[in-house]
Subunit: 350 residues, 2 copies
């Protein structure tokens, strides 16, 4: 008979009544940030709250304070390991800040992306971090957002918005690859090919531009999208073009992993026949076989930069922060394109 009837959760006035004080006192004791009050009352309030299992209603607080202590993050897709690693890194960075990072996946759909933004704005987030689903068509949504809250574009820059941007220096990344290839590869034997990603994103375009700048614009380039399937198809195309050896630079690790698997499946050896180089530094790259040589994006620094922006933005009008912040990545040598001397020495070459 004593069915656990879902009682209405306790409110401040419940606590106030039980402690014999006013709701104002309860508020000060429980979330007043150490304001001066008699220790006696404070402990009475705390005990009453304890006994009633009181939990603050953040909706009421948010309505009153006009701030939710939450930051919204919108990603195009959680299946892309680079996006989820960014989300994870940012979550971790926000942990100790007292601000909740809330995530929403737009499923690469502009309408859903817009709904996510509206939802976060309506919920009064203190800031919005967005990896844009589309370089042009996301602009309007982002502009709407940036009009009412601090908005930060991450990884993909959308031109003509007034939002901030935090990302990686893709041109420098390509330079690092160029220096590695110059130093460690005989490009007569292993000529360089670029397998690009989505030209609808700034990272896709900047990496292509960077490649052309350093390697010269005469090199062959194949353009597709940021996914493994494209990497595999690109491998097929490279082989059907008659290449039997080369250095393939993928615009992202997911592309490079596709290249890697298809090249090997078709009987080519990596790195003896084809070298493969990626970009991003997602976790699985180091676990591929052979491990991937790649440019590791500085996700920790990017996360820190975003946290700084959020903290500064909520404290005051923006101080000395630049509208745009690009951070330099670093090269990570793997077995798929080792230093010159290492070829043939690696244990997997039978």
């Amino acid at each position: 008979m004593s069915q656990a009837r879902p009682r209405r959760p306790a409110t401040m006035s419940d606590v106030a009544r039980r402690a014999g004080v006013s709701t104002a006192t309860v508020s000060r004791a429980l979330s007043g940030g150490g304001r001066p009050m008699s220790p006696d009352l404070r402990s009475r309030v705390e005990q009453a709250a304890q006994e009633l299992g009181y939990q603050v209603n953040l909706v009421g607080r948010t309505l009153r304070r006009r701030s939710s202590s939450a930051v919204g993050m919108i990603v195009p897709d959680l299946d892309n390991p680079f996006f989820s690693s960014l989300a994870q890194a940012l979550s971790r960075r926000f942990e100790s800040s007292g601000i909740d990072l809330l995530l929403f996946s737009a499923d690469r759909d502009l309408a859903i992306e817009r709904r996510g933004v509206q939802s976060f704005l309506g919920r009064q987030v203190d800031a919005l971090v967005i990896i844009a689903s589309h370089e042009r068509d996301s602009a309007e949504t982002i502009d709407v957002a940036s009009r009412s809250v601090l908005t930060i574009e991450l990884d993909r820059r959308v031109p003509s918005t007034s939002a901030r941007f935090v990302g990686c220096d893709n041109g420098h990344g390509m330079r690092l690859i160029f220096e590695h290839v110059t130093r460690d590869v005989d490009t007569t034997l292993q000529p360089v090919v670029f397998v690009g990603g989505d030209m609808d994103s700034s990272s896709g375009r900047e990496r292509l531009t960077g490649f052309k700048r350093w390697f010269g614009s005469g090199r062959p380039t194949l353009l597709g999208s940021f996914d493994v399937g494209w990497g595999q198809r690109a491998a097929d195309q490279i082989l059907s073009d008659g290449m039997t050896t080369g250095t393939v630079v993928g615009a992202a690790d997911v592309i490079a992993l596709g290249l890697l698997s298809r090249l090997q499946t078709r009987g080519l050896r990596v790195p003896e026949d084809f070298r493969v180089i990626g970009f991003d530094g997602i976790g699985v790259s180091y676990l591929a076989h052979p491990t991937l040589t790649t440019v590791r994006q500085p996700v920790e620094e990017m996360s820190q930069e975003i946290l700084d922006l959020v903290l500064a933005g909520s404290a005051d009008g923006s101080p000395g922060h630049a509208r745009t912040r690009t951070i330099r990545p670093a090269l990570v040598l793997g077995e798929s394109s080792p230093q010159r001397d290492d070829i043939g020495r690696s244990t997997h070459a039978r």
Copy 2:
């Protein structure tokens, strides 16, 4: 001089004043769900809202309605590709429901997991979906949650809570692997080894139990955690134990991928020397080289089941839904453990 001063966003009374109606009418016109009203007034309200750029304040609405039209999901970790694929699948499933799925990463930390739950509860989510960070120690947090909102454990069951559970039938998955091995493998030449994951999670334990049930309890088993590093170390251990050939069943794809890469790096051929079998069916498994034979979890069905629970739960007291729902997975044959006849035929074997 005309600095874009951040004007206070328009409220309902702003719209009401401009349209010459009451706020109640505005509410009915904009979010009344097609309630009867004169088309004239409706359009006047809509126009006024348009002109003022009115956006509903969901915090006010939530406070009043006592429901946020949002569901919170808590994952231990976004770097684990199976968790992020679950999050993505669930997001997609919720898209058309008018409910926002909000994600929070607990970073495998009980205190943070608890903070996430409190945050979602405080924000009045309509339901909570949680992949528990720990089998025992998450129980208290989950119980707290389930006392005030529909709470659904996903993938990892936590005993002694009153929450619902949705997951995959791990025992059946192991049975599928057993049938495949029985049918396609000569276990005299390639004896079976199990490389288990975290015994702190129900999936980890159920897969071990399932393995022992079908393969017999005399088989060698190695136990570690659900990550690639463990798979690699397990491969080392298997080799240092003197095995030169075998069928290695990993309790998760991430483990199997670690096995795969390390075995190949150390010069063993897959599947000729060692077969490797995984569990989960994450995207990259199909892109490994060789592609992974694995048990694909029914993430779409699991997502659908959760949506059903949420919709039913918000409509009424729970109808005929069972407290626990496990769904059967399916075997996906890859090159790492093909059908008997396929060995040696695959193109990658040189």
